[in-house]
């Protein structure tokens, strides 16, 4: 491989049965203009060390599997290119704030549980059937929520969120953006059902407006904006809750 450029990846390793604490392991690999960090990791796994463990699938920035910290920033390994870190070394570690299962693999179950609790699915006003035909929704109405529907659940925003770092009970950026995605959908009537999650101390009020989540999002979702949009609505709900006998789940 004469003339090929090389770079060193310092990859954070951790095996729960063998290691007391995570440590860095350097690997030097060849790369070219188009080599992604993910391809670098694959090269290591295939040729140098089969025990290096990470998730990946689509390798085109849409499945959300390969998030990790690259030189300290949350990023998708398949969408980050080694050329941008040359001459290196470049450090690859698991996403911040999430429990490490092994090497670069983190535990995503907290996020999945929150998604379920938040009822991030369409809750229609009426029992419409296909015989009734599709809803009408103009491009303008779609624009209200469309950006929030682009979330690939990659969890980079959770790694970026200092609030989540302090308190894992915080619902967090992506789930709140998805709640907003449905609340703003003209076809949806489920706001009341989702209100409890959003208004709790661990909902929008947990956010301290750092905005780093939106910066790292690879899909332009802008969760910080979603959370901000919620706050006035949340205040109103809060006050109404005082006036009404039951402030919890409404009857749609």
């Amino acid at each position: 491989m004469a003339g090929e450029r090389t770079i060193t990846l310092e990859v954070q390793r951790f095996h729960p049965e063998a290691d007391e604490a995570p440590y860095l392991q350097p690997y030097t690999i060849p790369f070219s203009e188009g080599t992604s960090v993910l391809e670098g990791l694959q090269h290591i796994k295939d040729r140098l060390d089969g025990s290096l463990t990470f998730r990946w699938s689509c390798r085109m920035a849409v499945c959300g599997s390969c998030g990790c910290m690259i030189d300290g920033e949350p990023a998708l390994a398949c969408r980050a290119f080694l050329r941008d870190y040359a001459p290196g070394p470049v450090r690859v570690a698991p996403l911040d704030h999430l429990p490490i299962r092994r090497d670069l693999v983190v535990d995503q179950s907290d996020f999945l549980a929150k998604l379920e609790r938040a009822r991030t699915y369409l809750i229609p006003a009426d029992e419409r059937t296909p015989a009734d035909g599709a809803y009408r929704q103009t491009p303008e109405e779609m624009a209200d929520y469309y950006d929030y529907a682009q979330c690939i659940n990659c969890l980079l925003c959770y790694a970026a969120c200092p609030q989540y770092g302090w308190d894992q009970a915080f619902t967090g950026p992506a789930v709140l953006a998805l709640v907003q995605r449905y609340d703003l959908d003209s076809r949806d009537a489920g706001k009341d059902a989702r209100r409890a999650v959003v208004n709790a101390d661990t909902g929008v009020w947990g956010c301290t407006l750092v905005g780093y989540c939106s910066e790292v999002c690879p899909k332009g979702v802008d969760p910080a904006r979603a959370i901000n949009q919620r706050k006035p609505a949340s205040v109103a709900d809060y006050l109404l809750g005082w006036l009404r006998p039951s402030g919890g789940e409404g009857t749609p």
Partner: protein
């Protein structure tokens, strides 16, 4: 040995579009059912997420079910089972609307009705789309919808290693919990395989890393024949090297393909005449098999453009203008900029064909039932008979919905009728036997690296079972694959011997399945002495031969030996085989001809 077990009414393997649609259908049909949904990745990571272009379903007043039927059958080079195609096209529109009512953000017209677009091989606009992220929105909508049903119990990151079959009936699966590496037995009277295709049998492909064909291989090993495996679709426009897809939607919007001389070369392959904007079933909107074959010929003639990752032609979007490119093709714009270093607003994207779709698979009836009691299949791993020798773009996402649902409902009925626990004792023994070889692999002291065997597989498939095939090459491929399977049996050596998240181990297990599926592909191709759809030969069999080969291929596994092959009739209801023609030639042949 396999202490852990889960008893349920229905096991679904696969959390892609087909598996999720099946789960919802079963839960709706019978809310009391306990449904175990297993997937080796969290469902929204499934490969369906990467689909870009669209999902077919008649929507416009000027379209008809007969039109969708004819395009599908002609596109499939008459190897489709027409009774199933009739049911399929009739069910598509309802499924698209249902998905809309679950929240899918289909792209809209100004008045708020869903919009449809052109797709290759379709006579009119009939592909529903969500920008160029159709699969992403479809999958997330389905995933989020499953959260409504308490009967659906997810087992995320469980690797299904084998099917359990007792006394001629499927009765569950053996899985490994990836987090712990522990074997877990799942028992149920009905099993749906929704494990996707097998594109990773090839090196250059558009598929996610997980598309390794286990579902097909597991059914096959248990006596279910694999059907029409020689038909592998190349997508004509992917990035050289990585194989990342550049959707057909680009051409539907008006992107054009040019060769090294700047010529729209498709006019030289019976697809002309070239017109400035897309015309259905002509030029850039011709069918995938023809376009991929045209690339190959251009390359042979030295008219492709060299790039660092190999030969390419140019996909030029510039005539669409910035606003349209950014609105309709946002994903492609990002992919081209990041992954190819090309800004499609200002320069053409280099593209070439790569393996994209497995037309063949586990044979099923229109209800998704496979020829093994209790076993169902849906999605890309199934062969329902709708794709024939060449799938039309956007028929696959539609298939996931239509047949995912059908399989879910049929399996729910079976689950109720058959009842739980019938095979309980046998299942426990079967599971233990099934876990043994997987666990033994962790102790191998000698053998080859996974990557070495995988590279050899890819080289053989690319070289001999490619866009064009011939008898000598296919003989070679069958011999190579027999040898590779033997090398695999002799041993794979893992660096990683631990159980927790051992992804090297999983990829070794996957490879064993992929090798078996690849062998079925090569041997099926060898037995088809004609050219049809995606199976194209450049030897003495370069023409279609309806007399002998208007038949399905069935490959039966024979353990370590090469498969036994037989051919079975195709169901033809109303469209007698004709010559496929596109572009002006199709019109000359009388309107609907193609």
């Amino acid at each position: 040995m396999t202490e852990r077990s889960v008893d349920s009414d229905l096991v679904i393997v696969g959390g892609g579009g087909a598996g999720l649609r099946a789960a919802i259908a079963a839960a709706e049909a019978d809310p009391g059912l306990r449904i175990a949904l297993l997937s080796k990745v969290v469902p929204m990571r499934s490969h369906t997420v990467a689909a870009e272009g669209g999902a077919a379903g008649v929507a416009r007043a000027d379209d008809s079910l007969a039109g969708h039927f004819t395009d599908t059958v002609a596109g499939g080079d008459w190897l489709c089972d027409q009774d199933v195609v009739e049911r399929f096209v009739a069910a598509c529109p309802e499924e698209m609307v249902r998905l809309e009512q679950w929240g899918c953000p289909w792209s809209r017209q100004a008045d708020g009705r869903p919009q449809v677009r052109f797709f290759g091989g379709m006579t009119t606009q009939r592909s529903w789309y969500a920008a160029d992220k159709t699969g992403f929105h479809l999958l997330h909508t389905l995933f989020q919808t499953t959260l409504r049903y308490p009967g659906i119990e997810r087992y995320d990151e469980y690797y299904c290693a084998d099917l359990l079959v007792d006394d001629g009936e499927a009765c569950g699966v053996l899985a490994l919990e990836i987090a712990s590496g522990e074997p877990v037995r799942f028992s149920a009277p009905a099993v749906i395989l929704a494990t996707g295709g097998a594109g990773r049998a090839y090196g250059q492909n558009t598929n996610a890393g997980i598309v390794t064909g286990e579902g097909m291989a597991m059914a096959y090993a248990h006596g279910v024949p694999l059907r029409d495996m020689e038909f592998v679709q190349w997508h004509p426009t992917t990035l050289p090297g990585s194989g990342i897809l550049i959707t057909e939607g680009c051409r539907g919007e008006g992107g054009v393909l040019t060769n090294r001389e700047g010529r729209r070369y498709l006019q030289d392959y019976g697809l002309g005449p070239p017109e400035p904007w897309p015309r259905p079933k002509a030029m850039e909107l011709g069918p995938r098999d023809w376009l991929s074959q045209a690339f190959w010929r251009e390359d042979q003639a030295g008219r492709t453009v060299p790039t660092a990752q190999g030969a390419a032609v140019q996909l030029d979007l510039r005539q669409l203008g910035e606003a349209r490119i950014l609105e309709r093709l946002p994903l492609i714009t990002d992919v081209a900029r990041r992954f190819a270093g090309v800004d499609p607003l200002h320069a053409p994207i280099p593209v070439r064909p790569a393996v994209h779709y497995t037309m063949g698979g586990i044979p099923t009836d229109a209800e998704g039932a496979a020829p093994l009691a209790g076993l169902f299949a849906a999605g890309e791993c199934a062969s329902t008979g709708i794709h024939g020798a060449n799938r039309l773009g956007s028929n696959s996402l539609a298939e996931l919905l239509v047949f995912g649902r059908a399989a879910g409902e049929a399996a729910a009925r079976r689950a109720r009728e058959a009842g739980r626990r019938r095979h309980a004792r046998a299942a426990a023994q079967l599971a233990e036997a099934a876990a043994r070889p997987a666990l033994a692999m962790l102790r191998n002291e000698r053998g080859e690296r996974v990557a070495a065997l995988r590279d050899a597989l890819h080289a053989t498939m690319e070289r001999h079972v490619g866009i064009f095939r011939n008898q000598a090459g296919l003989e070679q491929a069958c011999a190579d694959l027999a040898e590779l399977r033997e090398r695999y049996r002799r041993g794979v050596r893992l660096d990683d011997r631990s159980r927790i998240y051992n992804t090297e181990w999983l990829s070794a297990l996957e490879l064993g399945h992929t090798l078996q599926v690849a062998e079925a592909m090569a041997c099926s191709a060898r037995a088809r002495l004609e050219s049809r759809g995606a199976h194209r030969r450049d030897d003495a069999y370069s023409e279609r031969d309806d007399e002998r080969f208007l038949v399905h291929t069935l490959a039966h596994a024979r353990g370590e030996a090469a498969p036994a092959l037989e051919h079975a009739p195709v169901t033809i209801t109303r469209a007698a085989p004709q010559r496929r023609a596109y572009g002006a030639a199709a019109e000359a042949a009388g309107g609907e001809g193609a």
